[in-house]
Amino acid sequence: MNKTILEVNGLSTKYITRFREDVYAVRNVSFKVEEGHSLGIAGESGCGKSTLALSLMGYYFAPLHYISGDIIINGKNISGLKPDQVRKNVLGTEIAYIPQAAMNALNPTRKVIRFIEDVMYAHGSKMSKKEIYDLARERFEILNLPADTLHKFSVELSGGMKQRTVIAISTILSPKVLIADEPSSALDVSSQKMVIKMLHDLMDLGFIKAMLFITHELPLLYNVTDDIMVMYAGQIVEKGSKDQMIFDPIHPYSKGLMGSILVPEDGTRNIKLTAIPGTPPNLKNPPTGCSFAERCKYATSRCKVYDVEYTELEGGRGSRCLKPEHELRGLYDDGKVDFSNE
């Protein structure tokens, strides 16, 4: 059994809008990521996956507010820390965060190496500029980034290069956990592959111990992470290994989501795409019972009344549905989604 790097217990956060309304964006989320593992978070827009990423940093600023729960990184609970402490002791060294627009964060009037110096000195490094340069150069070369990038301005780099440079800068202190929130969705597919390869290298070479990857693109997730977690209305709906989740989802919502995958591969043309009618619930007043009951075609009257707990199943997976696994399988036309080539 590997060491647990990131453990989240019952994390809940909310947004407070301009009109003083509470929006419960992350509701009682618990999961663990072990050393050397990566976890993908999938879901429709507005399901709370990006808010979860922000909340995990322990760095709350308006309109995001912490409600309850623990975030334990490498045995250290960071959920109760003050913003200043988080900035000094957590960001960069324990957790690094890369949003979609990270590449636009580089000040165009400064060279790349300056940002690395900033990061080092902000975390109390006593190294000289020369030593920092050597370290950065070594790191860049290992990650297949040309070393002369260090002396360039961000405007001289292409979008994909910029994004990879930002990732290299933010992981220069070898944080334990890397949270990547759609880091490649603004890029074209070839740059996307380079970014993903770099994330893989970071994991393989041990510069980061665990990774959370957030995207709505399921085929991409399948190629990036070991496990996949599906979120809906601020809650975890189902979690499992990538093969289990993509080819054999249990929860009706994940089932619908996986049924909408489109890939340019033989045999995928003849599959009927599934659609989930309706819209996600308003998180200002989360519904009682199962959040998905409104849109679920297998829902019964029980589903709308009883709160559903997330239940662990065998094989490290888990799902949030009132119906047991075998009953759900019986409901689906085919027993499981079949993407095989026959």
Partner: protein
């Protein structure tokens, strides 16, 4: 192939150049194409490949620097506003971002009413217009009575995009250019939109040109696929041929870079050399 079918939109040597002199950029570079009626064509290209410029030219929203476009076998003439209006009765579009496709200051009804007026229904009695609007909404599974008198921002992205399809239903064009109509909406609603587009194609027998960057989507919906790179078509043909047995290097690279679920990427091979 589909040579027996009538050619409804074609072009020879179509070129679009922006700027002059040293600032000159060729967005679309001397391309030829033939789209047949009833066909579903996909144009696949990455950002900057010139696909958006191409559809703007096909729609007549941007001038063509060089080359000719033929509509229903005749060279198209959009020299005056009246002729353009006539052309737009035959060719219509759905855009990528439903949120920016609406004028947020007008009610939704006006979008549908405009279509009825464009088809020459300006003088129809009100009841008839309402009936047509109701029919169009029910085609896309929207309830007209819930839609009427609302502003666009009161709808969800999926509803907005469905209303765009209702608009096409009323206009009944011969050709529909769909510019990434599903990229801004959630995966769960994507199937609904695609189904409706395909149903509409069968209903009014129109030709759809799908513009997308998503190979998987292009492969799923289309009969013919055109691959576009830097303003040129590098490969085209039957969807199965292009996707499963690509010939051009660019297509091969594009396909290898698209994440798949049956042949996952293996970075270990190339990564730790």
């Amino acid at each position: 192939m589909s040579s027996k079918k009538e050619v409804c939109l074609s072009g020879t040597g179509v070129t679009k150049v922006f700027g002059f002199g040293s600032k000159k950029t060729v967005a679309v570079n001397n391309i030829d194409f033939q789209f047949h009626s009833g066909e579903l064509v996909s144009i696949v290209g990455e950002s900057g490949s010139g696909k958006t410029t191409l559809i703007k030219m096909l729609l007549g929203l941007t001038s063509v620097t060089n080359g000719d476009i033929f509509f229903m076998g005749e060279k198209r003439d959009i020299s005056s506003h009246r002729k353009k209006k006539e052309y737009w009765k035959g060719i219509q579009a759905i855009f990528q971002d439903p949120f920016s496709s609406y004028n947020i200051f007008s009610k939704i009804d006006s979008v549908l009413l405009d279509c009825i007026h464009m088809r020459g229904g300006r003088r129809l009695p009100r009841e008839k217009k309402l009936k047509m609007m109701r029919e169009a909404c029910s085609f896309v599974n929207l309830k007209f009575d819930e839609m009427t008198n609302k502003y666009p921002f009161e709808l969800s992205g999926g509803q907005m995009q469905r209303l765009m399809i209702a608009r096409i239903f009323l206009l009944k064009p011969k050709i529909l250019l769909a510019d990434e109509p599903t990229s801004m909406i959630d995966a769960c609603s994507r199937a609904t939109i695609l189904d409706m587009l395909l149903k509409l194609r069968d209903e009014i027998n129109m030709m759809i040109i799908f513009i997308t960057h998503d190979m998987g989507l292009a492969y799923y919906v289309s009969d013919t696929v055109y691959i576009m790179e830097k303003g040129k078509f590098v490969e085209h043909g039957n969807a199965d041929e292009v996707v499963l047995a690509p010939k051009a290097d660019y297509t091969k690279k594009l396909l290898s870079d698209v994440p798949k679920i049956h042949e996952p990427w293996d970075f270990r091979k190339s990564g730790k050399s």
